[in-house]
C-alpha cells in the first residue's frame, strides 16, 4: 500500500463519515458542522488530485462562506433554547433504501466500466496560473456569465431578505 493510498483512505473517511453523520443526524446544527468537516475532506481529496487552487477555493467558499451562512440561517431561524428537531426517521427509510440501490448501481458501473485511465506520474505542477489563463481565454464567456450570476444572486438576496 502506497502513501498515496493511505492519504486517499484518510481523506475518504474524513469525507464520508461526517457526510453520513450529516445526512442522518437529527440536529440540523450538528449536521451542518459535520458537513464542515466533510468539506475539508473533499478539499483534501482535491489536493490529492493535484487541484491545489480548487482545494483552497473549496475551503474559502464552502467552509468560510456557505457554511457560515448556513449556520447563520440555522441560528436565526430556530429557537436556540428549546431547540426542537423533528423526528424524521420515518421519512428516511425509503430514501435510504433507494440510496442503497442507487449506490449499488453506481458502484457496479464504476467498477465494471473500463476507464481509459491515463494518469502519468508526472511532477504535479501548480495550477493557479494556468486556471487563470484558461478562465480569461477559453472560458471567458462562462466566467463573465458567472459574475453576472453572482451579481444577480447578490441583488436578489438583498431584495428578498430586506425587511419591508
Amino acid at each position: 500500500m502506497k502513501a498515496y493510498d493511505v492519504i486517499f483512505y484518510l481523506f475518504a473517511l474524513l469525507t464520508v463519515l461526517p457526510a453520513i453523520f450529516s445526512a442522518f443526524h437529527p440536529n440540523i446544527l450538528y449536521a451542518a458542522l459535520s458537513l464542515f468537516i466533510s468539506f475539508f475532506g473533499v478539499a483534501g481529496l482535491y489536493a490529492l488530485l493535484a487541484a491545489d487552487f480548487v482545494a483552497a477555493a473549496q475551503v474559502l467558499i464552502y467552509v468560510g462562506g456557505i457554511l457560515i451562512l448556513l449556520l447563520f440561517a440555522v441560528m436565526l431561524s430556530k429557537n436556540i433554547y428549546g431547540a426542537t428537531f423533528q423526528e424524521e426517521k420515518k421519512k428516511k427509510i425509503w430514501p435510504s433504501l433507494l440510496g442503497m440501490l442507487f449506490l449499488g448501481v453506481i458502484t457496479k458501473i464504476a467498477w465494471t466500466t473500463h476507464w481509459s485511465e491515463a494518469l502519468v506520474d508526472n511532477l504535479v505542477q501548480p495550477t493557479t496560473a494556468r486556471i487563470g489563463h484558461q478562465l480569461l481565454t477559453d472560458y471567458l464567456l462562462p466566467f463573465e456569465l458567472s459574475s453576472l450570476l453572482l451579481l444577480s444572486a447578490f441583488i436578489g438576496a438583498i431584495t428578498l431578505a430586506r425587511s419591508k
Partner: protein, 369 residues
Amino acid sequence: MPLPELLKELFSTWPLFQHMPLWFLSLGCILGLLFLFVFPFAGVAVYVERKIAGDIQARIGPNVVGPYGTLQWIADAIKLLFKEDIIPKEADKKLFILAPAVIFMSGSAAFAVIPFAEHLVLTNLNIGVFYLIAITSIVTMGIIVAGWASNNKWSLLGGLRSAAQIISFEIPVALCLMTACLVAGSLNLSEIIDAQATFRWGILHNPFMLIAAFIYYIGALAEVNRTPFDIPEAESELVSGYNTEYSGMRFAIFFLVEYAECFVISAIATTLFLGGWHFPFLDLSTASLALKMPLQIIFFMTKCIILILIMMWIRWTLPRYRVDQLMKLCWEVLVPFSFACFLGTAAWMVIFGGKGIPELIAGLLGFGS
C-alpha cells in the same frame, strides 16, 4: 512499509507538500518560534499592552509582580492554567469543547505559510495568500460555534455579530491582498517578498498600494475583532461576547489566539506590503546563511512588532464603533475603495509596465537593481 519511508513518500506524492524545501528544518525552527516566541509573545504583549494603556491614560499600569510588574504575565498565565474549567450545565458540551479547538487550529494553521526568513517557512505554498484567506475565515466557524454552544444570548449575539463582521471585512481584506499579489505577480508569499527586494516595498509601489495597505490594516483589525471594531465582545453591550461562558484554559486559548492573530495579520502586512525580511539598500542575497537568517528574522519581527504596537496605540485611543457604523464602513467605504485600488493598481501595472515608483525613481537617478 516502514514509517519513515511512508512519510517520505507521503511528502513526495502529496502535491501540496512538494514545494517544501528544507521542510524538517523549517518545521523545527517554526515550531520553536511558535512556542518560544509567539505564544509567550501573547503574554508579553498583554504586559506591554497594559503598560501602554497605562501610559496613554496617564497611570502606571502593572507594577506589583516583579520589577516594574514585568512578571505580571506569568502570574496571569498561572492563574488561567489553574483556574477551574467550568462548562455550563445547559451548554452543548461537545460543541463547547470543540469551538476553542477549531479556533486554535485555524489560528495556528496560518503560521504554516508565513515566511519568517528566506527558507524559513513551513510550507512554501504556491497559493500561500489564498491559503491564508481561506484558513483565517475558519475562525468565524469557531466563534459562531462558541457563541451557540454557550447557550447564552450574549454569547450567541456576539458570535453572530462576529460572523457578520468577519465575513464582511473579508472582502476588502482579500481584495487588498489580491492587489498586492497583482504587484508581485504571484500568490506565493516567498516570491512576493522576493519581488519587494530591498527598497521596492509593496506599499511604495504606487499610490493605490499605499491606500490598499491602509485598507488592509483596518480590515484586518476588524477581522480579528480588535478595538475599535471589537463589537462581538463589547463589554458594555454583550458582557464579553462569545467567550462570556468560557473560563480557565479555554478562555486562555481564545486569549492566546487573539494575540496570535494580531501577530499573523501583522506578519501578512509585513510580507505583502512592507517588504518582508528586506531592509532598504541592504542586499543580503550573497551573505552566508548564518548571518542572513538572524538578520532577516530580526527585520521581519521588527516590522511585525511595530505594527502590533500601532494596534495597541489604536486600541487605547479610539472609541468603539456601533454595529451599523461598522457595516457601513465596510460596505460603503472599504469595499469600494479596495475595488478602486485593485483596478487602479491593474491600470498602473499596464501603464508603467509593472514598474513601481521606487524603481522609476531609481531609473531616473540612474541606479537601482
